[in-house]
């Protein structure tokens, strides 16, 4: 039996008095795609950020590929290397060209040679449909293109898990599709993905499970069909009626 890529056990996080994550336990299996939904402030971003240790949970266990990670003992850079993250606002490096953005991690972190990194980066840019933009600076790109570069940049580290935090919510509606298509593609290739998104179509098409979060708790879990078509919890019902 294969290990889950991520296992959270009783994860708790506070910002001051605010209990942002309340006893979160879940597992994400290899090649699984899970989607987190929930109202603003329910803790979705914080949960993703705890998984790659951008935030530190005060209580609970985080297991990555069968190994519990103690943030004080482990070299977190090595852990993060294998967990890609895509942000709502892209966070491309504006002083670097597209290709420089993509090779930065491999060259600086993984120690890949420039030549090899460039070769692989071009393949990734091809995969996200942007090989002709390799030498542009990010400011010349549309939001959708920026996000696709950001995905390529994360993939360049050959991650075993990809975290997406509302990757399409800063985009003009007509640009959402191109980013979702890249993500669907990725899912079909077997990438393990944890996605915060309210794109129901995407969730239905590629997600194995949907988690509904409310005030720091996961209060309902199920397949996309179960959650979207027949939510059980009144709060889930209310939330879905509001966003649909």
């Amino acid at each position: 039996m294969s290990q889950p890529i991520v296992k959270l056990k009783g994860l708790n996080k506070w910002f001051g008095d605010l209990h942002v994550l309340n006893d979160i336990s879940l597992e994400i299996d290899p090649s699984e795609v899970v989607v987190f939904i929930g109202a603003s402030g329910s803790g979705k971003s914080t949960l993703l950020r705890c998984i790659n240790f951008l935030e530190e949970a005060q209580k609970g266990e985080i297991w990555i590929k069968g190994k519990e990670i103690n943030p004080y003992k482990e070299n977190l850079n090595r852990v993060r290397e294998k967990i890609g993250m895509v942000f709502q606002h892209f966070n491309l490096f504006p002083h670097m060209t597209v290709i420089q953005n993509v090779i930065e991690g491999p060259v600086q972190v993984a120690g890949t040679s420039r030549g090899k990194a460039r070769e692989e980066a071009m393949e990734l840019l091809e995969q996200v449909g942007l090989h002709d933009k390799a030498d542009e600076y990010p400011e010349m790109l549309s939001g959708g293109q920026k996000q696709r570069v950001a995905i390529a940049r994360a993939l360049a580290m050959k991650p075993e898990l990809m975290l997406f935090d509302e990757p399409t919510s800063a985009l003009d509606p007509e640009l959402v599709g191109e980013v979702l298509n890249v993500m669907k593609d990725l899912a079909k290739k077997g990438m393990t993905m944890a996605v915060v998104t309210h794109e129901m179509g995407f969730a239905r098409e590629v997600a194995e499970r949907v988690f509904y979060m409310d005030e720091g708790k996961i209060i309902e879990t199920g397949t996309p069909g179960e959650i979207f078509d027949s939510p059980q919890h009144p709060r889930t019902k209310k939330f879905l009626s509001q966003i649909l």
Partner: protein
């Protein structure tokens, strides 16, 4: 005519002083940048002790007159066995002085870069040092050029205070010549003119640098 005659006669006597002013300024800026960068990073780390030291340095330097700082280094330090030439004392004193202001400029520049940049870098496994060197500083550098240029001009003018600890720079020279020829007013005006010319030249250089950085983003990201 008398004015032109005066300028023609005495300007050459200022050449060594102008050279010293330029050296003082450049050295104090280089030293200031080094101290400023270290101090800014010290202020931004999570190590409390370093924060405190940086704070103390900035508070003391910004809270006391430059002339007191220079006098301390040149006139008081020999009392504990540290004897420096006027020029060295002046360069170090001005450098330490500039460092405190430059530190605040760097800190502002670094803090103006969005945290998303740091998160993106850290999320792909870059260390804190790599993130600073490869991602934050190259962007911050571009933003601090205008205030830094402004500080350079202040540093140039402030270098005149080194004259009071006997460095033979422009101001000191004008005083000396003025006193010996009883033409103090003319010499002060001449000194002022030299400063004005230097400041103008400096501004042009700063603008050039700003332009260069703007057009060749790539290079600056590879310098660091």
């Amino acid at each position: 005519m008398a004015v032109l005659e005066f300028i023609k006669t005495y300007s050459p006597l200022f050449l060594p002083a102008i050279w010293i002013t330029i050296q003082l300024t450049v050295l104090s800026i280089i030293l200031g940048i080094v101290i400023g960068l270290i101090t800014a990073l010290a202020k931004l780390t999570r190590v409390k002790l370093l924060n405190r030291i940086a704070d103390l340095y900035i508070t003391v330097i910004r809270g006391t007159p430059l002339i007191v700082q220079l006098s301390f280094i040149y006139f008081a330090l020999p009392g504990i066995g540290i004897e420096l030439s006027a020029f060295v004392a002046g360069s170090i004193g001005l450098g330490i002085h500039n460092g405190a202001y430059i530190a605040e400029i760097f800190r502002g520049g670094i803090q103006s870069i969005s945290t998303g940049q740091t998160e993106a870098a850290r999320s792909m496994g870059m260390t804190q040092g790599q993130t600073m060197r490869r991602i934050i500083l190259p962007q911050a550098l571009r933003r601090v050029i205008p205030p830094l240029g402004n500080q350079f001009i202040i540093a140039l003018k402030d270098s005149s205070l080194a004259g009071l600890i006997t460095v033979n720079e422009i101001y000191m020279t004008s005083r000396r010549l003025g006193a010996s020829t009883y033409q103090q007013m003319e010499f002060y005006m001449l000194a002022g003119a030299f400063y004005l010319i230097l400041v103008t030249l400096f501004s042009v250089v700063v603008q050039k640098v700003e332009k260069t950085l703007e057009t060749s983003k790539r290079q600056s990201s590879e310098i660091l």
